[in-house]
């Protein structure tokens, strides 16, 4: 069958649906059938699924027609999705085409939610089309005879590649692809990505730097115009707008008016606790919503989540309060309105959420922005501009992740074992490990076989064994099981399942929260008021609580997000407008706050760096306002406090947000010395940053995640935590033992490099310092905290840095008595 005949099959099908294929869909079919790899840039809801399912199925029809393959001969294509929740929808799309065309193909899903029975059945006989996650794919690479499973695979599609790209899950995919390229004969690799700033790089990371796969690839852009309208929710009276806080409940009534006007609304919050509190407050104040509103976040039981997703599709819900758990994929046609509570921090995320409404090609998307505190309204103003100018961010891929590599090698060793020379050639072709040296590779091999130590008497380290023929293999059953349980690169705090005493699974909460509960305490979780009974066999047992009892809300740790460089730039532009007369509605609404700020201090122009200092009961505060985003401020605060601490012994507590940062101390800060010594200069920047990193705990926190991924910590599986008490160790302890006894360990080095490149963003820091050095420094000594400073000084998530001796510090400190 020739290509024209194949296209005709697809076009006929579209015609039967009363649709017309988009240009990008046809381009993708053509490129795929020509045997090309590629990256498809298309938004959700644009028909991207059909752009790739069709050529996969057409290729199958062609091969059967040409007698190249027999029907029922195993796995033909893999579809990778980062979110399990999306798999059903992708399956339905594929099955629809298969049924209509009468092709005898089967479609299967394999994720963490798939039952053991089904997984065993799949192992015996793989479906033709397999929909799975990056983690489940790794697990397949970790099973016996995996090469045979994949041998006949003709395509792998990595959906939402932009989501994976800037994370270690992306690295995990790079490694899996490097292996699949070797064990298949005729496999096309396709990525699907939303619009990001660096699509060309995304294509290169997907296919491997300078590889044949990359040379034989295309980048196809859908270029579908999408109109997005951003509206801010403003109160009638601005005077009462809170200066700090992150809930936004003061606008509850205004939100309800919006909800009432719309068929279905999604209300996005940034954290799971915020989600719980919004849901509960809505029900408390508007009990008539009961039954019409629901909640959706990652810690709620899967059954409940699926129920909510279906209820949205069936137009049974007026409102869903949710987190990023509903960011991606699933096509919710009935959703008309989106509300974002609190700053989304990134343009891409915000636009993606906006796109959840009017989720059909050509339809307009409406998103309301609710600023939780006054300063966030500036963000709203900036986001409007971003939407209008379609500004998008880059996703920065990881380099040299030794942790993910170690996990991958252990996975291969668990399966059939591996020969290092063969694998080294493959990983050198990936983007992540393009520069790995022979010495580093040897270190990694040494780490998995000998526990990184050179000859030491009596060592009993056991993991990967080297067999007589040079095969690297894990033979110990217990270690193999342990490794399989821990495959994955998303590190979360230990979680415990929550169950009713009478039975019935509700979801999971973090262990540290559970450990604070005492019998009789009530807490709100999954939209219900629960009374804590006990923890038994690592399960939190609860019963429904008396409705009137006072209760806590479950909190989750979770990292804080930062502004992207693009967002910071937009924000500064907006802020600097305040001194001119070109005010947007948001900035106009902020007038009372700005007046207050101007009374106590100033609002800086683009040629000014504002520094405020004042004293409170807590000590001496010095606040800097570079408006460069949280991560740059984190780096600046560490750098500056480190340089100051070299002048004389002093201890600091550091806090930061997206607008500025604070150095808090028990001593007055000599600002003159700061300028005299040129402490904001870019010289010796790298070394000073490195030293400040040693003095703070940033790298320490990164190391914990790296240690978990590399298998240095035994965590068990989420919801099935460690039972082997003797194998537990605190993350602090782990970091210290490596720092003191194995400072050259590559994983430890990686913690520092990651802090530099992904958190401190040295490049952005240099740019920021250069900008600051061209600014006039305005020091304001204030009587009391200013509106600008308020969200920063009240932040409890802090870093510390000290150049005083331990004894000096202890002398100034006290331990407070237990309140009896």
């Amino acid at each position: 069958m020739n290509r024209a005949a194949l296209y005709q099959i697809a076009e006929n099908w579209f015609e039967a649906q009363n649709w017309k294929p988009f240009a990008f869909q046809k381009q993708t079919w053509k490129a795929f059938l020509q045997g090309k790899n590629g990256l498809l840039n298309a938004p959700t809801g644009s028909g991207k699924t059909y752009a790739l399912w069709f050529p996969i199925i057409l290729n199958y029809i062609k091969q059967v027609d040409e007698g190249k393959i027999k029907k029922q001969s195993g796995l033909k294509a893999i579809w990778i999705t980062p979110l399990r929740a999306l798999s059903t929808e992708i399956k339905q799309a594929a099955e629809r085409v298969i049924t209509d065309l009468g092709v005898p193909m089967t479609v299967g899903i394999r994720t963490g939610d798939t039952s053991t029975t089904e997984r065993t059945q799949q192992k015996n006989k793989m479906p033709d089309l397999l929909i799975t996650t990056p983690e489940s794919l790794q697990l397949l690479l970790g099973s016996k005879n995996y090469a045979q499973t994949f041998a006949k695979c003709t395509a792998i599609v990595i959906d939402e590649w932009h989501e994976l790209l800037g994370s270690k899950r992306g690295v995990q995919m790079e490694l899996a692809l490097s292996r699949l390229k070797s064990i298949t004969q005729d496999m096309r690799i396709w990525g699907i990505s939303a619009t990001i700033g660096n699509l060309e790089l995304a294509q290169e990371v997907l296919l491997g730097k300078e590889t044949d796969a990359f040379k034989n690839s295309v980048l196809i852009k859908a270029n579908l115009p999408k109109k997005i309208t951003v509206k801010s929710i403003l109160p009638k009276k601005m005077e009462t707008y809170p200066w700090r806080g992150h809930m936004g409940l003061h606008l509850l009534d205004e939100v309800v008016q919006i909800i009432r006007k719309s068929k279905t609304t999604l209300l996005f919050t940034n954290t799971r606790s915020q989600c719980e509190i919004w849901f509960q407050t809505l029900l408390d104040h508007y009990p008539e919503f009961a039954g019409e509103i629901a909640m959706h976040h990652g810690s709620i039981a899967k059954e409940t989540r699926i129920w909510v997703e279906n209820a949205i599709k069936n137009e049974e819900l007026k409102l869903v309060v949710c987190t990023s758990s509903l960011d991606l994929g699933v096509d919710f046609a009935p959703v008309e309105t989106i509300i974002q509570v609190g700053g989304p921090k990134g343009v891409a995320r915000f636009l993606q959420r906006a796109g959840r409404s009017g989720h059909q090609p050509g339809k307009e998307s409406v998103i309301y922005f609710l600023a939780t505190h006054a300063m966030e309204l500036i963000e709203a103003s900036a986001l409007k501009k971003a939407a209008a100018e379609t500004i998008v961010e880059d996703r920065i891929p990881y380099l040299n992740c030794y942790d993910v590599l170690i996990q991958y090698l252990n996975t291969l060793a668990v399966a059939d074992g591996f020969y290092p020379n063969e694998i080294f050639k493959e990983i050198k072709q990936t983007f992540c490990y393009q520069n790995i040296s022979d010495a580093e590779w040897l270190w990694v091999l040494n780490f998995i076989t000998k526990g990184s130590q050179s000859l030491q008497a009596y060592d009993e380290f056991k993991k990967v064994e080297i067999e007589a023929n040079g095969l690297f293999k894990i033979n110990n059953k217990r270690i193999a099981i342990q490794h399989r349980m821990q495959i994955g690169t998303i590190v979360s705090d230990a979680v415990l399942n929550v169950k009713f005493l009478s039975g019935g699974y509700i979801g999971s909460i973090e262990e540290w929260f559970a450990s604070k509960l005492q019998r009789g305490d009530t807490f709100i979780f999954a939209g219900r008021k629960l009374e804590f009974h006990s923890i038994k066999n690592m399960i939190v047992l609860v019963k429904l609580a008396n409705g009137k009892k006072e209760s806590k809300s479950v909190s989750w740790m979770g990292g804080r997000m930062t502004f992207s460089a693009q967002m910071s730039e937009l924000l500064r532009q907006e802020l600097y407008k305040v001194n001119q007369e070109l005010l947007t509605p948001e900035l106009k609404a902020l007038q009372p706050v700005f007046e207050r700020q101007q009374k106590e201090s100033i609002i800086p122009n683009d040629n000014q760096l504002l520094i405020e200092s004042f004293k409170t009961r807590e000590g001496y505060h010095t606040i800097f306002y570079p408006f460069e985003g949280r991560f740059v401020h984190e780096a600046l605060a560490s750098l500056l406090s480190y340089r100051i601490s070299l002048l004389s012994p002093i201890s600091f507590s550091l806090a930061y947000n997206d607008y500025g940062f604070e150095l808090l101390s028990d001593q007055i800060l000599d600002l003159e010395a700061l300028f005299d010594n040129n402490l904001l200069s870019t010289s010796h920047l790298h070394d000073d940053l490195q030293s400040s990193l040693n003095a703070t705990e940033m790298a320490r926190r990164k190391f914990r995640d790296i240690a978990v991924i590399a298998g240095l910590v035994f965590t068990g599986r989420p919801g099935q935590p460690v039972k082997t008490k003797h194998l537990q160790s605190g993350s602090q302890l782990l970091f210290e033992v490596f720092r003191d006894y194995e400072p050259d360990n590559l994983l430890l080095r990686q913690a520092y490099i990651e802090t530099f490149e992904h958190q401190l963003e040295e490049g952005r820091l240099i740019q920021a310092l250069e900008r600051i050095n061209n600014q006039e420094i305005v020091v304001k000594r204030c009587e009391k905290p200013t509106p600008f400073s308020f969200p920063i000084i009240t932040d409890r998530l802090r870093e510390k840095l000290s150049s005083e001796t331990l004894a000096e510090r202890i002398a100034k400190m006290t331990a407070s008595y237990l309140k009896v």
Binding site: Q453, K462, I479, H483, I810, L818
Partner: protein, 211 residues
């Protein structure tokens, strides 16, 4: 730093040991030998160069105090027997002191292994007015020396300063020793007005101000 309890003088060391001057006894708690090897045996590559450190510290204390007897207040060995026993064996051969182990919850190595090394294993030990145990016990008549808790305190100060730091925790009738071993964790205790807290710094032991 020296403290006096029931007219007896005890010397506290930054390593976390307690030296009973009149009796010439060195008390040490929660060494958790074998922990690193236990991890390594299970495929977790904790640096094994940290193992000799415990014995270097012990030898330094023997030099400083020249005790006649060493009493371990439990959790001497972290788990089942492993290769670190060799280090312990070698160390015992190299010293002349009498050694007593008060059994802790982690001490699951069979008694005869200790007996072979002439280490006496007891559930608890009464010496004059002092009761030595692993777990803290409430006693009316004696003063209790114990371990098990791995105590630390949280100190706070102006400018949102805070420190978490391992300590000796002294109640009216009890002294809980800090954990001696490398690679052992800590547990935060909060003092009451009747307690005293002595924290460990690299060079000295310091009594903490309580408010």
């Amino acid at each position: 730093m020296n403290i006096t309890i029931k007219k007896q003088v005890f010397m506290l060391h930054p390593f976390g040991s307690l030296y009973w001057k009149d009796k010439n006894i060195l008390l040490i708690s929660d060494l958790h030998l074998g922990k690193i090897s236990h991890f390594r045996k299970n495929g977790l590559a904790i640096p094994n160069s940290a193992i000799p450190k415990n014995f270097e510290k012990l030898n330094e204390l023997l030099d400083v105090y020249q005790p006649q007897k060493i009493i371990f207040l439990g959790d001497l060995f972290h788990s089942t027997l492993n290769s670190e026993w060799h280090y312990f064996d070698n160390w015992i051969q190299s010293i002349s002191q009498k050694i007593i182990l008060i059994e802790g919850n982690h001490d699951i190595v069979a008694k005869h292994h200790y007996e072979n090394l002439h280490v006496e294993v007891l559930e608890s030990l009464q010496i004059d007015d002092f009761l030595l145990t692993h777990h803290p016990v409430a006693t009316e008549t004696s003063f209790n020396f114990c371990g098990h808790i791995h105590p630390r305190v949280v100190l706070t100060g102006l400018g949102k300063q805070y420190l978490k730091i391992p300590c000796y925790f002294r109640k009216p009738n009890q002294l809980i020793l800090p954990a001696f071993g490398e690679f052992t964790g800590n547990y935060t205790l909060k003092p009451t007005p009747n307690d005293k807290v002595y924290v460990l710094t690299p060079k000295e032991v310091i009594e903490v101000n309580l408010v």
